[in-house]
């Protein structure tokens, strides 16, 4: 991968959301990149920026020294998993949240929790797993960590989120009142991690992660509407924080693409599922409704 190039605003936002569990450091000196953004399939042609683009946004549980998480994000477990489908021509989109314990076929590895795919074979295997599961072609992959999320959110001045429940979760360090508020990086991370004491557990957490993502997108759009030159300011921040092998032109087009769909036109859905067990392990099984949902998205029904 080349040196860190300018970041995609859009992806930054996505990443932010994804961040649920990802970490990263500021990209400086020997530090690892806060966020990685790349094409899902190397050598593939760039997608049309006037049509539909799909992102797989992943938060890793590794590579976050600030939070005591060692290792490399790309080889960690993917704890935050969202497929983001944006259709610029229809100005609408959908964010599909996948519980990390979703029990699904992983190519070459039988059936296992979906978050194990990245540990088994890095981002390429995770991408293949998602494409096989959903039948939806992925264009871009964004990976971040706990550190990456917090740094990114702080650098853009926080994200506006409508917190949908009162949360007091010591495990995630989340102490939030219900209602709209601007979250700092640390509070955004806590909101996206809270699970154990939150009604709905994993499902609520996945929804909250997507809210952070949409909050980032909304913050970006609001700033750019007020001052179009903010696009360059966001890209400059991203340049410091994101590692990408995308040419700058593609990054700019992606950032501009991120203006095309307002968060209010993005459907935030956690795929239908049901808790269960496989042997002694707690898992989540996707229900038939999940596959119907995938089919609708493939057919372009994003609302």
């Amino acid at each position: 991968m080349r040196r860190p190039t300018a970041a995609l605003v859009a992806l930054a936002l996505l990443v932010v959301a994804a961040t649920v569990g990802l970490t990263t450091f500021l990209r400086r000196g020997d530090a690892a990149p806060a966020v990685t953004v790349q094409r899902a399939h190397k050598g593939a042609a760039a997608p049309s920026f006037s049509g539909r683009i799909t992102f797989l946004v992943v938060g890793s549980d590794s590579g976050a020294p600030k939070f005591g998480r060692g290792g490399v994000a790309e080889r960690g477990r993917a704890d935050s998993l969202h497929l983001v489908v944006l259709d610029a021509s229809r100005r609408q989109g959908v964010v599909l949240g996948f519980p990390r314990d979703s029990y699904v076929p992983i190519p070459g590895h039988g059936t296992n929790k979906i978050n194990a795919a990245m540990a088994f074979g890095g981002p390429p295997l995770l991408i293949r797993t998602f494409e096989q599961l959903t039948g939806i072609k992925i264009d871009y992959f964004a990976l971040t960590s706990f550190d990456g999320l917090t740094d990114l959110v702080n650098k853009v001045g926080g994200v506006q989120v409508n917190v949908d429940m009162r949360i007091r979760d010591h495990f995630a360090g989340a102490f939030l009142d219900k209602g709209p508020q601007r979250l700092s990086g640390e509070r955004a991370l806590a909101y996206s991690r809270a699970r154990k004491t939150v009604p709905g557990g994993d499902i609520a957490r996945s929804r909250h992660q997507a809210q952070i993502l949409l909050g980032g997108l909304g913050t970006f759009q609001a700033q750019v509407v007020k001052d179009p030159a903010r696009v360059m300011k966001w890209l400059a921040v991203m340049n410091d924080e994101v590692q990408s092998d995308l040419p700058f032109g593609e990054q700019l087009h992606l950032a501009l693409f991120a203006r095309s769909v307002s968060p209010g036109r993005l459907n935030n859905v956690v795929v239908p599922n049901q808790p269960g067990t496989a042997g002694s392990a707690s898992i989540v099984r996707l229900l038939p409704g999940a596959y119907s949902l995938f089919a609708r998205v493939r057919a372009g029904q994003l609302a």
Binding site: A6, A229, F248, G249
Partner: protein
């Protein structure tokens, strides 16, 4: 839109149009004109450390001035460009947006009104530019562009007005427009 604005202005102003002594047209009409001077106010964004925004903005300004001058010249000062299908204008757009730009010519240039315009006398042209640097070179820029002029038509003359926000990308061929929000005519 511009056509309507021009015709309306021409009619209400009641001024008699006279053939301009010198056309501001460029290559397409085969007449020469002095380059349009665009007044640029520049700023720059770049790496958090070791980046001198003032120096960077100053260094990137001349190229941008030339690009914007070229854009305004082919879009507004040379009505003959219409006969070529605005080829030179569209070449200033990045490939992915050329098709959209072709549809939006009325908001980006004289557009369909060009057929009625004999010449355009340029007025003030101002641009507020924010460059984005990667390493030691600019790779992108946001431009808020304002241009005013006067168009000579058969019935008289009328104002030409452009207000636009352009997102630019530096390519092997120089600056190219990657995105735009643009308005022409009286309401711009």
């Amino acid at each position: 839109m511009l056509a309507a604005a021009l015709l309306l202005t021409a009619c209400t102003s009641g001024k008699k149009a006279g053939a301009p002594a010198t056309s501001a047209a460029g290559q397409a009409t085969g007449t020469a004109s002095a380059p349009l001077k665009v007044q640029v106010e520049a700023a720059a964004q770049g790496p958090e450390w070791g980046f001198d925004a003032k120096v960077a903005a100053k260094r990137a300004t001349p190229d941008m001035e030339r690009f914007l001058s070229r854009y305004l010249t082919v879009a507004f000062l040379d009505p003959g460009q219409q006969r070529t299908g605005w080829r030179e204008l569209l070449a200033l757009f990045d490939v992915p947006v050329q098709q959209a730009a072709r549809r939006d010519l009325d908001a980006l240039s004289l557009g369909t009104a060009a057929a009625q315009v004999k010449a355009v006398q340029p007025g003030p042209a101002k641009a507020a530019v924010t460059f984005l640097y990667q390493g030691s070179r600019p790779v992108g820029a946001t431009v808020k562009l304002a241009f005013d002029g006067a168009a000579d038509v058969e019935q008289g003359s009328g104002p030409v007005r452009l207000r636009s926000v352009l997102q630019l990308l530096w390519t092997a061929k120089g600056w190219r427009i990657a995105s735009y929000q643009s308005q022409t005519g009286a309401s711009a």
